[in-house]
């Protein structure tokens, strides 16, 4: 279970408060107007933004103060999720060992992740030689190899077309079900939230609210969200 306990994030004029729990294995969308702090919330959980106060607990352990790489999570950003000078196999290898010292068993695991994400035959390529969808698959495959219990998605598929995006989200759902991964997905698209996440965290007006049923939230949005959705 992920618990945000009296969490306060501040930067200049910006202030965001959060206090809620997300059960293990849940798939939750993070929605809200631009600039409300969705990405900042994820950055704080991932360790890129130090909270002003409060705690971020995973299974009772406080994550605040831990290095990003040692937290029990993987995060995919909007862009720059892969190192362009490394091959697909090397990029995936980084998910297992940060200094790329890989055993035979590790290589088998990489092969399996490649097959699982439909990247057969692309192991020796560099990201620049892949399509946008393939690049997203590599990033997902690396998260698969890291096998951390929490996966944070900060709109990594925003640049993909609707069909590809739906495909990626379906893949994330499958992985989440298989590994019991808890997933937080920041999205601009209400359709994504509806299709992917039974529950949603609304970030608006300085507060991140506890997860609530996505369909109901979108059907009867509070004013800030309604304005953003154009309703």
């Amino acid at each position: 279970m992920l618990t945000l306990e009296n969490l306060v994030l501040t930067q200049d004029e910006f202030r965001l408060e959060a206090g809620f729990s997300v059960p293990a294995g849940a798939r939750v969308a993070v929605i809200g107007p631009s600039g409300a702090g969705k990405s900042t919330l994820l950055a704080a959980i991932a360790g890129f933004f130090a909270p002003a106060s409060g705690r971020i607990l995973w299974r009772g352990q406080d994550l605040v103060g831990l290095q990003p790489g040692t937290r029990p999570l993987s995060i995919l950003f909007q862009d720059q999720n892969l190192f362009p000078h490394l091959t697909v196999a090397q990029n995936l290898g980084l998910g297992i060992s940060a200094d790329l010292r890989l055993s035979a068993a590790d290589r088998v695991a990489i092969e399996r992740a490649i097959a699982r994400t439909g990247l057969e035959g692309l192991a020796a390529r560099r990201p620049g030689q892949l399509s946008g969808g393939q690049q997203s698959r590599v990033a997902l495959a690396r998260a698969l190899l890291r096998a951390r219990p929490l996966l944070l998605l900060d709109e990594p598929f925003a640049a993909l077309g609707p069909a590809l995006k739906a495909e990626m989200l379906a893949l994330v759902s499958e992985i989440s079900l298989e590994q019991g991964t808890t997933v937080l997905l920041v999205s601009h698209d209400p359709a994504d939230a509806r299709a992917f996440a039974p529950e949603a965290i609304l970030v608006a007006d300085g507060h991140a609210l506890p997860p609530q049923p996505t369909a109901a939230l979108l059907a009867d949005p509070p004013p800030a969200l309604a304005r953003y959705l154009g309703m």
Binding site: F48, G69, Q80, F83, A98, D99, L100
Partner: protein, 506 residues
Amino acid sequence: MLPARLATLAVLALVLGTLAAVAWQAGGLGALQAADLAAARFTVVQALISATLSVALAVPVARALHRRRFPGRGALVSLMGAPFILPAVVAVMGLLAVFGRAGVVNDALAALGQPRISIYGAGGVVLAHVFFNLPLATRLLLHGWQAIPSERMRLAQSLGFSPKATLRHLELPMLRATLPGAWLAIFLVCLASFAVALTLGGGPAATTIELAIYQAFRFDFDLARAASLGLLQVALCVAAFAVSARIALPQGFGAGLDRRAVLAPPLGWVLRVQDGVVMGLAAAFLIVPMAAVLLRGLPALSGLPVSVWAAAGRSLVVALAATALTLLLALPLALAAARQRRFEWAGTLPLVASPLVLGTGLFLLLRGFAAPATLALPVTVAVNAALALPFALRTLLPAARTLQADYDRLAASLGLSGFARLRLLTLPRLARPLGFAAGLSAALSMGDLGVIALFADPTQATLPLQLYALMGAYRMADAAAAASLLMVLSFALFWAFDRLGSHADA
């Protein structure tokens, strides 16, 4: 951050430590004589004239280069980068071959029944400075022309601007923004001129402060006076630098000058001939001296005495050691400066320290521990590394900033740190600018005739010092051969490192 802090400490210790030693020894500016004030005046005046001439002449050259397209243009633009790494003594050899007493120009004047001109003295010093800095200024201004947004040029074309209107609305505003910085950059370089003044200047009318430090140290062994002169030099540099901090210094020694859109070339044969003549003269001014050295020197290479080859070997070792040291300082500083500005200042500090002040200071600090001759080469390595540091840092910084912005979060989220991060991320991503910076450092160090002149006896001479000795002994054939060797080695070092960098990632 720890390596960056160590590098900062090393730079501070070197620059400020030597300065403190010099100031302690000088005990004020009391030891200065009338001749030293004359040297100070000449230093400033020649730098003023050199910078003004270089920049003024560069305007038509850069303009012509920008608006004309012809075969070999790219090569000509690249050639304009060559003097930056051309050893000063080699350039002087080339200028002597063209403008010297037995040079082409004087032969032509004699044939026309005109009196011969002398390259020695203030005129020669300025000539050599223009030779070095006209190409630099041209590249800086060309950069300015290429930075005019292509949308602006499209607008000018759609409005049917005449060349005059283009000049007024596009080019003059650009020049107003670019010229002061370019002028100041060159002024700073000329302020610390030593090798040119040593070979072409001298005497009461053409001695720079750096040369006066050398003379006070080497001939009079008047350490108090050398130290006072050193303080004067640093004060001048700091003053000029304080002014330059207000004006953004352009950076034209980098690679990649051929991308942006171009002003529509004005038609008409008058302008076309004018541009052609301007570029032809500039190219000849650049190429003929270098070619003269090579033509005379290359055939004589095999006859060079062993001492010259030994000096070349020493120079190579010094250059490689200085390069390693420069990168060891520059890389951590660049990575840290991408996060915190103050590390950039640490790496820029050597710009205000003159080589001879560093050398004098190191001598004062170390004379209790070892004989000057045994210190000559290590001190040269340290000083050369420090002097190349600002250039290496400026080469690395943009790439280090991009690296930080693009991949720092990803690396952190994967727990990539320490040596693994260096090997898997930093070195591959920075290979190109690292190669370029290494090439610059190696070539600058290879050709440097500065601090080594303070210390070395003949058994410790580097190739530039050996070349200077050959020139002093009027062994001109050997000197030309040594100059060719030095030129070839300097360019080869630059080329090899630059190539290494651009292929590391392929």
